[in-house]
Amino acid sequence: MQLRISIQHADFSLQEETAALRRLSSNLGALVTFSGLVRELHDEGAVKGLFLEHYPGMTESSLEAIALEAGRRWPLTGVTIIHRIGELRAGDQIVFVATASAHRAAAFSACEFIMDYLKTRAPFWKKCLAEDGEFWVAAKDSDQAASERW
């Protein structure tokens, strides 16, 4: 399984990322992608953007562990995980997960599994930047529940 993990400030291109995965094998039957975006509306109100903090070193190793666990559960040809850090504005792309496999069931399940695990296990923290100040986003029980179903 080919694995690409990137923690970066810069934006990413879906087209470039999916093209790289398609080049891996002529026997690829399915390519599932997930893109997470910065929403303007949060539970606490409207935000201008987000600040993303992470734990360098542990972030990369935890994402690698999650991707390798997905590779043990489903037959995958390639996995790409990109997570942006630093300051992002509403509407920006924040996270990208792509899973490539011979068949769609594996690619769909693995992509969802990776996102559910990423949200509860990878050391990232979001701070909302609003008109009237800044506040840290609280972890959601629904994300915990989503990761526990696997």
Binding site: H54, Y55, V95, R121, A122, P123, F124, W125, W136, A139
Partner: protein, 83 residues
């Protein structure tokens, strides 16, 4: 010495991102928290013992009972909110 790191809201609450402390060897995360509270005061222990604070030893999620020794990196942080 132990490398201690604090992240996100916990880093802001404590006003510190990184410090190096000596602990009697062998010790545990709980022992380290006790040492930190002695150095900084009770407020520190309260913040680190708060219900949902997570700990990682050498970048692996651990418990407060986990052993720590000289040269380890121990990080304290709130529940993660990436993605």
């Amino acid at each position: 010495m132990i490398d201690v790191r604090y992240f996100a809201s916990l880093r802001e609450t404590l006003g510190l991102s990184h410090e190096r402390v000596a602990v009697p060897s062998p010790s545990t995360v709980a022992g380290l928290v006790h040492t930190l509270a002695e150095a900084h005061g009770g407020r520190w222990e309260e913040a680190l013992r708060a219900g949902r604070v997570l700990v990682a030893v050498n970048q692996q999620v651990a418990t407060f009972a986990a052993p720590v020794q000289d040269g380890d990196e121990v990080a304290f942080f709130p529940p993660v909110t990436g993605g």
